[in-house]
Symmetry: C4
Subunit: 230 residues, 4 copies
């Protein structure tokens, strides 16, 4: 610990385009373009199920300039880092990402500082709710197979922010238990955590949810309820 | 059916830049940049008149990462797929795209989840209407030759959304009959379908209409009527 | 006239990056990214003073896909086209661009369908006015040397739109005479014309004016006067 | 002075990607994409501590087209230019950048015409204030080590604009003294100056502050206080 292990570079030098270390960097550039990870905010983690490894973006690095060699790698079984880049610190999101891997057996977790997410935490109380928007059909049921229906109500719990990111863990774990059907958790005045079975599913859920959060802010501004009365 | 036909790859490996399989991918990247097809939403179809083939983007694929080999190809005469990529599902927009090909003899159809479209379906009742904006001149008369005049009223019907995309077909067909001059149909809380004689015309109409939808939302927010009283 | 003259291709095949035919295409891509020329709207013209030629973007072409071979070239002395691409029509903006070349001896003229421009023509009566914003210092005095001061009032006349673009010529000419200090004219519910001594100056003025138009809309929405009372 | 010194080109021909002349150009393109330096507005300066040199973007150049050969270089000890590109003028921001180097021993200073910055100077009186937003944790304490806490109040002083940029120097210097904990100063109806120990820190602070300014405008529009009452 605390030092780069010999030969650990090979863990993150992409053998192929879809290697987790490569995807983390590529998606961080995509997220930067969306304004989700400006000022080093936010983060991503991907799990390699076949090798039982967790890949993690580092703390405090400019997301659009991140390189595969900046990536941390953890052995999911021992929970020890097997690659820890010198001069970099592990992301403070790590315990939160790990909670989703452990509690939900997910394959990837995304954290953004999306302004749409923050605005919704200022406009909604305990949960974000929206119904009867086509994009809802991109969100999984989680507790059943398949995705939500158009007329289903998407509910995302909002937890209160804490001074330190890792202090969010208890309330994030509680929300995961209390809302077994959710694939995301909003953090008041902070941002959002979104996870999925694979990195691509997590990315799609995050895009679809951010789209719905953006739309909800516009609807609220015009006095249109986000949940349609039947 | 259900399997890729031998040698069907050649149907979608672009022989040239303007090949439908290539254009679908290129335009999906353009649309993704506009926020019209986030979270795998939306779709495009192009008709190859010379070979009487229909090219279709697949369901559930990230639009900005789509590759020509992901494209479905249908024989327009037999309405059977002559290329059906393994592991992918045909888009649920297909019956709607087909309705525009059959009823209007179009060359391409675009479907987006544009937020401007959705907002207008929340701000307008049965039809979207706007007049006296220069960009209206980019929209075709359809029932006559040439385009609308600056002072013409652009009218786009709004149909109600259904639980499944294919269930939209009857009301889309009805709207096409009821509004013989329209080149687009809005779907409440869902998005928009836009078609044209060629893919480039459809793309231009979609851009011009989205511009007008965006402007209409801004006008509504400031209390400015979208139809100018004479 | 009506046909491409032999060897006229050489007029638009860029010998260098700063060739007008190249710059028109490059700037159209830039403008497309800003939403100023969607749906084939808008246009650009550049004057080559040394050869006394006028380069003009064609009508109805997708601005982000324009190629140097699509460009029209006019002899400024005879006012005849010396290059007229087959299958393309000259821009209907041409008489308006020509008016700025003749009346103001400009080097380039830009026309956009900027939504900020349109919104300002809906929020202001006869003229757009703004003062005491730093960006005003990027706009030229025109009737004197140098640029406006921070505390100067930028005034841009607004003319009424007409059914056909070329019908704007009389009122555009009148506004150019009535407002000798303006480097731009807004067209109600249509867009803006901006010109300058060179294409780079015209581009900078257009960017700075659009920035001010965007800011003015935001200020109006919050009830902040755009002209600061002293 | 007034002429390019022989061989001064070598001062700005990037030996490596991280050379200040290269970074200034790269970041100006990034800032142009964010709308912070349109119409030649704004500027950047980087200090090379090892050689005691100051690199400065020139005045009146289009920021997205700037080249390393356009960069001015000043000897920080003598305060004389050792490279002064022919045909270009030094930025009028120079005395302000120098004030941050001298008074705060910074490594880089960024000036933008961000519309979020201007809107906040129209919505706040003497200072911009925000608290309890996660992104605040990206801003340094300055008077102590480390960054602000989530619940800390970020305070950025607003100084009044002057007719000429260099006339801002006295009030900028006063604000630097009056607010020893600030890493940025807003200029009413003009923009913002942000500095940091290195160019990367300055860039991160500028991004994080602009994010907070944008969020503050949205909060104000919805009547949500930017400083959370405890």
């Amino acid at each position: 610990m605390g030092l780069e292990k010999p030969d650990s570079d090979q863990l993150v030098v992409p053998a192929d385009e879809e290697h987790p270390a490569n995807l983390i960097c590529e998606l961080c550039r995509n997220f930067y373009g969306n304004g989700w990870v400006t000022g080093t905010g936010g983060g991503i983690s991907i799990r390699d199920r076949s090798r039982n490894l967790i890949f993690l973006a580092p703390s405090g690095v400019q997301k659009e300039r991140m390189m595969p060699l900046n990536i941390f790698v953890m052995d999911f079984k021992t929970k020890e880092y097997i690659r820890r880049p010198l001069k970099l610190k592990p992301s403070s999101c790590t315990p939160l990402f790990m909670a989703t891997y452990i509690m939900r057996d997910t394959g990837a977790c995304i954290h953004t500082h999306s302004q749409n997410a923050i605005m919704c935490t200022l406009l909604f109380e305990d949960v974000f709710e929206i119904s009867c928007i086509e994009q809802i059909k991109a969100i999984p049921k989680v507790t059943g197979s398949g995705n939500l229906l158009y007329s289903d109500r998407l509910v995302i719990p909002i937890i209160e922010n804490t001074e330190k990111e890792e202090q969010l863990e208890p309330s994030l774990r509680k929300a995961i238990l209390d809302y077994p059907g959710t694939t995301a958790i909003l953090v008041r005045r902070h941002g959002i955590y979104v996870w999925g079975e694979t990195i691509w599913k997590a990315k799609i859920y995050n895009e679809a949810i951010d789209y719905l959060l953006e739309l909800a802010v516009k609807m609220k501004q015009l006095g249109i309820p986000t949940v349609k009365s039947s």
